[in-house]
């Protein structure tokens, strides 16, 4: 208890620490938002709750790490992971996801959970269970009397995340396929009547999600660390963000992602780093309860 009080008082005593926490939080939050955006897409378009989301992220990270080990320049790992994970996502779609779309939602949850276990364990068998990262040859910027440190690698990572997110938004708005996806999300049956091949749209959407996750993972392996079993961390964050922001609300997803990144860092500062995972999960419960209260006001249940 004393610790918590003194940690809070630190925030006021040294205002610069707030800046440090915010910067760290926003940078990790940008990556959470990216993974969550993919989830919002599949959730909104095909009503699949993908628990393997985090494992796609980690798999993308390993693809980039493995290619970098073979001599590929690290920054090219991001597009490479995007492409490889596109293919893996497509295979997952054909084998599993395409068969659970029409089923009740619990089925998709469990099926993707099975996928998650398999991916994590295959990564463990292929690459071992040690943490891995790619070291980039860039400096660190020190601000505020050396108190705030921003590795340039992190800045590059965040910029790449932003570019990718913008690219996806433009694609959804402008391209033929993007329009088809949005039409399917609104009303799949009507879309089919209008001549849209929804099966193709679903396969495309799921592959796109997997590719976005893969790119996010490739960024994460450059600026943080990956390990075969870290997937659940990103899956939980994605669910928190999408539940909080709602579906098909991209600015909302980004805002929620950044917000959760910052909140988590504040939580870790105040309660201690040991509570980080607990804080993320409690945020999820909190979001669910708030949504529940909103729905109850309309005399509906959250479903």
């Amino acid at each position: 208890m004393d610790q918590i009080v003194s940690n809070i008082s630190l925030l006021f005593e040294f205002p610069v620490v707030n800046l440090k926490i915010l910067i760290d939080g926003l940078m990790i939050g940008a990556l959470f938002a990216l993974a969550a955006y993919g989830l919002a897409l599949v959730w909104g378009v095909m009503n699949v709750k993908n628990l393997a989301q985090g494992d796609f992220v980690i798999a993308g990270g390993y693809v980039a790490w493995w290619l970098a080990g073979l001599g590929l320049p690290p920054l090219l790992g991001v597009p490479a992971a995007f492409i490889v994970m596109w293919g893996i996502g497509w295979v997952c779609y054909k084998l599993v996801i395409s068969r659970v779309i029409e089923r009740d939602l619990f089925t998709s949850l469990l099926a993707t959970f099975g996928l998650a276990i398999m991916i994590a364990q295959i990564l463990n068998l292929l690459f071992g269970s040690d943490t891995q990262s790619i070291k980039l040859p860039y400096d660190t910027i020190y601000l505020a009397d050396g108190f705030i440190d921003i590795p340039i690698a992190k800045l590059i990572g965040v910029c790449m995340a932003a570019v990718l997110a913008t690219g996806v938004i433009i694609f959804m708005k402008r391209s033929r396929m993007g329009q088809a996806i949005r039409a399917t999300a609104q009303d799949a049956r009507a879309a089919r009547v209008m001549g849209i091949d929804t099966e193709k749209v679903y396969a495309f959407t799921f592959s796109l999600n997997s590719a976005i996750c893969g790119a996010a993972g490739a960024i994460i392996v450059m600026v943080w660390l990956i390990q075969p079993f870290y997937g659940i961390t990103y899956a939980i964050r994605s669910f928190v963000i999408v539940t909080a922001a709602g579906l098909g609300n991209l600015p909302g997803v980004i805002a929620a992602g950044l917000g959760i990144g910052a909140l988590e860092q504040y939580g870790a500062h105040i309660f201690g780093i040991g509570y980080q995972q607990a804080i993320a999960v409690l945020l999820l419960l909190l979001v669910l309860v708030i949504r529940l209260i909103q729905q109850r006001r309309k005399r509906q249940s959250l479903q």
């Binding site: 068969r99 089925t107 959970f113 998650a116 539940t243 607990a278 999960v281 419960l285 529940l292 729905q295």
Partner: protein, 345 residues
């Protein structure tokens, strides 16, 4: 038919009693099999019969473990000192203290878990479908994380209970029979429960909650009662597991969300949701699968398990019992009038 049925039950009961003597080398595994059957049956109470798919029932297992351990230790020692990293002298238990700890620990664990179910259920039963699953999963993960930060119960180092005070083989039999008795009692209880008005009411909630509510069924009360009953039994087996495992820690043993927490769901799906025998058959199949892959596919066992989950939910969602019911409806007393007597046995 009924005579045959009673004979079948009698044979199964005899097998239950004799199993540890027929397979003396597998007593621990047989006890674990009963554990799986019990958690699968209790999961089906809400998941299969009531349509609320919880992914967080493992919460009651972990909580049962901790409550029982704290009671058993608290009877003799100061819990905070016993569980502290620094130890504090040699802590031993007499047989009387040990068995008193098990007895009171189980009782306390069951009741505490039932109470937890009512409190948590009051909030989470407002959620439907996948939100209920995610919400309950969240409760279980959060509980594990919080317990792992709670120094009084040992934090991340968990708790180590005393070893069974008498002979080793006697200990194995003891744990087997405790699990088996709880399992048999639970089965009989559920068989009766599902035949009552209560069973009809929770089935109505599964089929259409709004209509059930409109029919004047106080749905929340039924949902809470069903979950509390399930939690009571899971708490009991959590408590006995704590003594059987002796040493446990919060994240990987007690609140093992991705192990037992999911296994119980897979057992039910494998055997068939919403049937009485489904969870039992599913648990047996799953346990066999797990023991075999864990022994002969070391390293790949988790991949095999993931594949089993995917294949089960994608291709055999009705489970073995569902499939049988579809193929041989007569066995279940379901009559389909097809104009011929083909469907009747």
């Amino acid at each position: 038919m009924t005579a045959l049925r009673y004979l079948l039950y009698a044979v199964l009961l005899v097998i239950t009693v004799l199993a540890p003597f027929i397979f003396p080398d597998f007593r621990t595994q047989l006890a674990t099999l009963w554990l799986m059957i019990i958690v699968a049956l209790t999961w089906d109470m809400t998941g299969g019969q009531m349509g609320y798919n919880s992914l967080g029932n493992i919460f009651f297992y972990g909580t049962g473990m901790y409550v029982a351990a704290v009671i058993a230790i608290g009877l003799v020692y100061d819990v905070g000192v016993y569980t502290s990293a620094s130890g504090g002298g040699i802590n031993e238990f007499t047989p009387v203290q040990y068995f008193a700890g098990i007895g009171l620990g189980m009782l306390g664990a069951g009741l505490f878990c039932a109470a937890c179910a009512i409190v948590i259920g009051y909030i989470t039963f407002g959620l439907r479908g996948p939100y209920f699953a995610i919400g309950t999963l969240g409760v279980a993960i959060a509980a594990g994380e919080l317990v792992s930060n709670w120094d009084w119960v040992g934090g991340g180092q968990g708790i180590t209970l005393p070893v069974y005070p008498a002979d080793l083989d006697e200990g194995k039999l003891f744990f087997y029979y405790v699990f088996a008795i709880i399992g048999v009692v639970l089965f009989i209880f559920l068989k009766w429960l599902y035949s009552t008005r209560f069973g009809a009411a929770i089935n109505a909630i599964r089929d259409d909650e709004e209509k059930a509510e409109a029919m004047g069924i106080h749905t929340m009360r039924y949902k809470l009662t069903a979950w509390a009953l399930a939690a009571f039994f899971v708490g009991l087996v959590g408590a006995i597991s704590a003594f059987q495992l002796i040493s446990f820690e919060p994240l990987e043993t007690a609140y093992q969300t991705i192990n037992l927490g999911i296994f119980m769901v897979v057992c039910v799906l494998l055997g068939g949701k919403g049937t009485l025998w489904g969870p039992v058959v599913g648990a047996i199949l799953f346990h066999l699968f797990k023991e075999i892959t864990w022994n002969y596919l070391l390293g790949w066992q988790w991949v095999a398990l993931g594949a089993l989950i995917v294949v089960t939910v994608v291709y055999f969602q009705d489970g073995l019992m569902g499939w049988l019911m579809h193929r041989k409806p007569g066995w279940f007393g379901i009559r389909i009038d097809e104009g011929s007597d083909g469907a009747r046995k």
